[in-house]
């Protein structure tokens, strides 16, 4: 894992001191709210429905065990004993006191963490494949690139006041687990014919009010040119992106307005002016960062996940391995996905005690590493297959053994109207109702892979446009209703879902989704996933289900 050097540490320590002074001045009346608000947002502190909410950055979703323990400590000491892991691989605390915020940042700084650039119109926390460094289908660990981008974008003076927020995702694998096509910039590591590492660069993707699948702006950018090329994209956006209308300010709107070809020409012209400058990435710098992500020392082992399922002495253990453990690139190891979607629990929430336990389990079973996923789950990336029974027993005893990764009850949901000042409708109660309806895990495994995403407003924090089943909460004359889409996906073949009918009540939405599942089971081909069935037959059979239930 990346370890802070003296510059990194000085930066976060200085930020703590600065924010402590700003909070003191605010509480003393020396700063007005208008003056203070941009300063608190620069440190991830929002004012939500009930209290301040602090969003803490987890760069590319990677945590060490000591970092997780500090997150648990913050939940216990400063919040109400839990935290919420987000679709951007961050964590949010919902019950923060302004007066405590500087102390929280100081505690975070002790383990190289902060809340810088988790809000505001800047380059946000760079996200990556949560299976980085362990996936069998990987060209290279994408965290090397993500860390380079973190260093480049942190407090970048030219890009601190962009037209709007800016999100970058990186994948190093053939299978896209980072949703790169729905980010402002998506990067896919791959090799040129000569074996050199470089990037396919996608631009102008995004969800929210205007969902767009990103377009490839360059099929291959050599690694040494990555920063100069991204700098060129950001410069064109910074210059021409709209600042007159917040709803038209994202880069996707600019790319659409200009057309990808004209946008590309402008980027290429800008690139020509910076390509040979100081932004060229020297091999020794890349190597130094890559050294932080060198594979840990795995023990010699053998066997596969299939072997572990076969050998499991308990059917419940076998079911959990089948759903939650993925192949590791090293024989004898598995990637353990820890579900934060237990029946009736708010998706993505973990208590302080659960976080402490996960830190201990990471130390004991996963070489001290933990990952946060876009699906609001956690990952123990380096687990010996022989340790799966002991690990499962410990997780299950703590309410963390739900065997539903990628299944219908593994629901992505934003905080919704229960917490969020922007939301129109509640998300969590609907997610909980669905988890109760589909609590039978054998049944869920029979249904197979099915991603349900629930957003409480059009800002789409739960990425509902790219859920196999997407649900958008709307407010119609004071009534909470839910609009359902089908056929979205955020993977390598990213697609936006199609609306299947008018918005319905929460109760009806649960029944509808159960009906969609029945329709799918009736018409699927052997081995066909829900999303593949929708792709094959379209939404017509599901619309019939919708209207039949009306």
């Amino acid at each position: 894992m990346y370890q802070y050097d003296t510059h990194d540490q000085a930066l976060v320590d200085q930020r703590v001191a600065q924010f402590r002074d700003q909070v003191d001045r605010r509480l003393a009346g020396e700063l007005t709210e208008d003056q203070f608000k941009p300063l608190r947002l620069m440190n991830g502190l929002y004012l939500q429905l009930h209290a301040y909410m602090l969003r803490v950055a987890i760069p590319y979703g990677t945590l060490s065990a000591p970092q997780m323990r500090v997150l648990a400590h913050i939940a216990r000491r400063y919040d109400r004993g839990y935290g919420h892991f987000t679709t951007r691989q961050n964590i949010q605390y919902n019950w923060i006191r302004l007066a405590d915020a500087p102390d929280i940042l100081a505690d975070l700084a002790t383990v190289g963490m902060h809340a810088i650039q988790t809000s505001g119109n800047c380059i946000r926390n760079v996200t990556a494949d949560p299976w980085a460094g362990v996936a069998a289908d990987e060209v290279e660990d994408p965290r090397i690139t993500a860390e380079i981008l973190r260093q480049w974008s942190t407090l970048h003076p030219e890009f601190s006041f962009l037209p709007r927020k800016f999100k970058i995702a990186v994948t190093g694998a053939a299978s896209d687990r980072a949703a790169i096509k729905v980010h402002d910039i998506g990067l896919r590591l791959h090799r040129a014919e000569d074996g050199a590492i470089g990037y396919e660069v996608l631009v102008g993707g995004g969800l929210g009010r205007t969902p767009v699948i990103g377009k490839t702006i360059r099929a291959f950018v050599p690694r040494q040119d990555l920063l100069s090329y991204l700098e060129a994209i950001l410069r064109v956006y910074n210059l021409h992106g709209r600042r007159d209308n917040i709803y038209k300010a994202r880069i996707k709107i600019l790319v659409d307005a200009l057309g990808i070809d004209v946008f590309r020409q402008q980027v290429e012209a800008e690139w020509a002016t910076v390509r040979e400058g100081a932004l060229a990435l020297p091999d020794d710098v890349v190597a130094a960062i890559a050294a932080h992500f060198a594979p840990p020392a795995h023990e010699a082992g053998a066997g596969s996940v299939a072997d572990a399922i076969e050998a499991a002495p308990d059917p419940a253990l076998a079911r959990w391995i089948r759903a939650n453990v993925a192949p590791h690139k090293v024989p004898g190891y598995g990637i353990v996905n820890v579900s934060l979607k237990a029946t009736d629990q708010p998706p993505g929430d973990a208590t302080a005690s659960q976080m402490d336990l996960l830190a201990d389990l990471a130390d004991r079973f996963s070489l001290g590493e933990i990952r946060v996923t876009r699906e609001q789950n956690l990952v123990l990336p380096h687990v010996r297959l022989a340790d799966l029974p002991a690990l499962w027993a410990a997780l299950d005893a703590a309410g963390l053994g739900t065997p539903n990764i990628g299944l219908i009850s593994d629901i992505i949901a934003c905080p919704g109207l229960d917490y969020c000042a922007l939301a129109n409708a509640r998300s969590i109660p609907l997610a909980q109702a669905l988890t109760r309806r589909f609590a039978d895990m054998d049944r869920a495994q029979e249904v197979g892979e099915l991603h349900v995403n629930i957003s409480g407003c059009i800002n789409a924090c739960a990425h509902h446009h790219v859920g196999h089943i997407g649900i958008l909460g709307v407010d119609r004359r004071g009534e909470e209703l839910y609009q359902v889409t089908l056929g979205g996906r955020a993977d390598t073949d990213a697609t936006l879902g199609t609306v299947v009918g008018p918005a319905v009540s929460a109760e009806r939405a649960v029944d509808l989704i159960a009906g969609f599942v029945e329709t799918y089971l009736a018409i699927r081909h052997p081995g066909e996933r829900f999303i593949d069935t929708v792709a094959r037959v379209g939404t017509a059979p599901f619309k019939e289900t919708f209207h039949a239930a009306a």
Partner: protein, 111 residues
């Protein structure tokens, strides 16, 4: 979508406490209470404007932030109640059971 309020709609003034963000309501006694049912209900626009002018002093004085006027359903016996779902949730808290940080069995020791 916000709807236009009738001129004599019963309303209260709400805000968040600066130091901790807690939702508060202006009472007839001139203090900020976390309980909606203690809020002072005003109807005429002139009364709303007078109340807001007073409350802005507490914004300047760093007691509260984010002043808002919200419509309510008056109830002489129980005090005002929120009309919108959003304000009902602001007043009463999340509609879900919050996670409880119960002790969990610890992992067996490493050595």
């Amino acid at each position: 979508m916000a709807r236009k309020l009738a001129a004599d709609t019963p309303r209260v003034v709400t805000a968040n406490r600066l130091v901790d963000g807690v939702v508060v309501y202006r009472t007839a006694g001139g203090i900020w209470s976390p309980r909606l049912h203690r809020a002072l209900v005003v109807r005429e626009q002139a009364a709303v404007d007078r109340l807001l002018a007073v409350c802005r002093g507490d914004v300047t004085g760093c007691e509260v932030v984010d002043l808002q006027v919200i419509p309510v359903q008056p109830d002489p016996a129980a005090g005002p109640r929120a009309i919108s779902q959003r304000e009902a949730i602001r007043a009463a808290g999340p509609t879900i059971a919050l996670p409880v940080d119960r002790p969990v069995p610890t992992a067996a020791p490493l050595f």
